[in-house]
């Protein structure tokens, strides 16, 4: 097609502005694609924070609240649940496994989770991935043993056999430390890109031992104090836990067991389906995420308007070009088409460069994003969704290019052959 060659040659002649335009479009396309990729992956990794768990059970409050403290370690439970309730449902015929969760302590800003050995056996995240130890073993031999999440170990620089002191409460700065009962690191988990990485895991008995001599939230003094050695001798049975995770024999039973728990006469309990609650939570954060998308759409629009400006400003000095084309037999719509082709070429080049920049950016940012935000950004080929975004940009450029095309059309009709520059 000869007009395309003409458009390309004309663009090459104005290569400096053309390159700037291409670059602006490229950057905006990169931004849009990057935002979308992060958005999709964030949603995905969010939905995969916990898997294979059929029900989460806690004291009766809101389902989002229960999800936040039991899975994301955000906020606090308003109430505990009795150990007897845990036992009741752990032995329920439909329940395959149960994991008790006891929260409330922290260590240098990271939450401490008291749980049982079942946690390492049954807790799953992502696409049904089980927890794996990078080093060491699960807790169990001694009371004062801790298994660290990957981030805790990395950020705080802990190794196996380090001794650490856990604090009461969850504030960053804690006054009351359980410094008479240090815990030994016996295991470090592999990264999961979930809140597990930011958790210290100890046994339920360990939690009990921590608080055994505390009264009304204050440590005992003098004779009331129980040493670590004494604690080891005692049979430490928890009286309450914060929440529990249940795996059922069949998923179909979920709703029935859920209702049964919600109607439990022993104490008011709330059972939630993690998938449903996760979706509910995501839709709460959805507005921010949509705002991000809209902002990047506007950036793309800015890029296209930049192109429009560049082409429109070039129009006047190109009237002679148009008159010459008219004199050799070009029709006014040829002139208009030339401008449409020009816009499309600029946009296409911009999109290609934008995709290249995206992959270059992914290559560089993958590692830091994974370790900082726990979001895994795949280097995969563009998805259909991303391709349709690119197609949308091209379509928008086509629509926008009608403006200069129409002006050139009118201009070449009214100018005729007399070029009055």
């Amino acid at each position: 097609m000869h007009l395309i060659r003409l458009a390309l040659a004309s663009l090459r002649n104005r290569r400096f502005t053309a390159l700037l335009t291409v670059f602006a479009i490229a950057l905006s396309a990169t931004l849009l694609l990057a935002v979308e990729r992060v958005r999709v992956e964030a949603r995905m990794s969010f939905a995969n924070t916990i898997s294979s768990t059929d029900l989460i059970v806690g004291a009766r409050s809101g389902s989002v609240n229960l999800l936040l403290y039991s899975v994301f370690r955000i906020g606090n439970a308003t109430n505990n649940i009795r150990w007897s309730s845990y036992q009741h449902f752990a032995e329920h015929p439909q329940v395959k496994w149960a994991i008790p969760l006891s929260l409330g302590d922290s260590h240098r800003g990271y939450r401490v989770l008291g749980t049982s050995a079942a946690y390492f056996e049954h807790y799953q995240y992502g696409r049904k991935q089980a927890l794996e130890l990078a080093k060491g073993r699960p807790f169990g031999e001694d009371l004062f043993e801790v298994v660290l999440g990957a981030e805790v170990a990395r950020k705080l620089g802990y190794q196996l056999n380090d001794e650490i002191v856990l604090a009461h409460g969850v504030a960053k700065v804690t006054l009351q430390k359980h410094d008479d009962k240090p815990f030994k690191v016996v295991g470090i988990l592999k990264p999961t890109a979930t809140p597990v990485d930011r958790t210290l895991h100890i046994s339920l008995a360990g939690i009990e031992a921590l608080h055994i001599d505390w009264q009304n939230g204050m440590p005992a003094y003098g004779n009331g104090k129980i040493s670590a050695e004494q604690a080891r001798e005692m049979a430490l049975q928890p009286k309450a836990i914060t929440a529990m995770l249940l795996g059922l024999n069949s998923r179909i039973a979920s709703f029935r067991v859920q209702r049964e728990i919600n109607e439990y006469s022993g104490e008011p309990l709330l059972a939630i389906l993690p998938g449903v609650a996760l979706q509910e939570l995501w839709s709460l954060m959805g507005t921010a995420e949509k705002a991000l998308f809209v902002v990047s759409l506007f950036v793309v629009l800015t890029g296209l308007i930049g192109m429009l400006t560049a082409i429109l400003t070039s129009l006047n000095e190109r009237r002679r070009e148009m008159a010459i084309l008219r004199s050799v037999g070009a029709r006014p719509w040829h002139v208009a088409l030339l401008l449409v082709l020009e816009s499309l070429t600029l946009t296409l080049l911009g999109l290609l460069l934008g995709v290249a920049l995206l992959y270059a950016g992914l290559l560089i940012a993958r590692e830091p994003v994974l370790s900082l935000y726990g979001i895994y950004l795949p280097l995969s080929a563009p998805t259909w969704y991303e391709l349709s975004l690119l197609g949308g940009i091209l379509l928008a450029a086509l629509v926008i290019s009608i403006v200069p095309a129409w002006r050139a059309y009118r201009q070449s009709l009214s100018d005729g052959l007399s070029i009055r520059v």
């Binding site: 000869h2 003409l6 040659a9 004309s10 090459r12 002649n13 002679r320 070009e321 010459i324 084309l325 008219r326 004199s327 050799v328 037999g329 070009a330 029709r331 006014p332 040829h334 005729g416 052959l417 007399s418 070029i419």
Partner: protein
């Protein structure tokens, strides 16, 4: 004697302007070289746009090569111009970003007829362009240069080659020599004459420069032709 071009009772005014052209009768015979003189602003370029069918007169009849232009659609007029006419302007005739050969071949991109004629006569379009350019004194070492690397005199000769390629019946030259110095003017016109007669084309040459008039077959003064001349143009 057949007419390449004839017009009767033509009237034209630009939008919101006074009547610019009012010409009772004008014609050009086949093979004729006509010099149309007139001061600048008198409507010479406008007349040429009318002859090429780029603008339409408000009144009157315009017959070119046996076709009544005003009865043709805009598309047909554009085709007609591409097929039968070669244009040459005063200056800046070429697209600066194309090389010389591509500039010469431009009319062939819009007219199948001229493309066919050119390659029929010289074997291929490129051959035709090379032949014309060499006839006009532009060595082949220049042919792949960008248009804006040439001198103005050279550019005008490239423009002449472009007007002539594919042998259109009518060459319309709108003050093509006014950017040249006096010595090269006559040389340029003689080259143009030679090529026009080689291709059998008529030449309508427009200028305000009287000194060139003696070289032509016939000289016409637009002011005498145009009944609307006088009042506004005198100022």
């Amino acid at each position: 004697m057949s007419h390449v071009l004839s017009l009767t009772d033509l009237q034209f005014a630009w939008p919101n302007q006074a009547l610019l052209l009012d010409i009772p009768q004008f014609s050009l015979t086949r093979g004729e070289r006509l010099f149309l003189k007139g001061p600048s602003g008198s409507g010479k370029t406008t007349l040429l746009a009318l002859l090429g069918g780029i603008q339409l007169p408000q009144q009157g009849q315009l017959v070119t090569n046996g076709n009544t232009l005003s009865s043709l659609s805009a598309a047909a007029r554009d085709h007609f111009r591409a097929d039968h006419m070669g244009y040459l302007f005063q200056q800046f005739n070429l697209l600066p970003f194309l090389d010389i050969t591509s500039n010469v071949l431009l009319p062939c991109r819009f007219s199948k007829r001229r493309a066919a004629r050119a390659s029929e006569r010289y074997g291929s379009l490129e051959q035709a362009a090379r032949h014309l350019l060499e006839q006009l004194g532009l060595p082949s070492s220049l042919h792949s240069r960008r248009a804006d690397e040439l001198s103005i005199g050279q550019q005008q000769r490239v423009a002449a080659a472009r007007a002539l390629i594919g042998s259109p019946e009518l060459i319309i030259a709108d003050e093509p020599t006014s950017a040249l110095d006096y010595d090269s003017r006559e040389a340029f016109i003689r080259l143009l004459f030679a090529e026009c007669s080689g291709a059998g084309a008529s030449l309508l040459f427009v200028s305000h420069d009287q000194s060139l008039a003696p070289l032509f077959d016939r000289v016409v003064d637009l002011a005498e032709l145009n009944r609307a001349a006088g009042a506004p143009a005198c100022i």
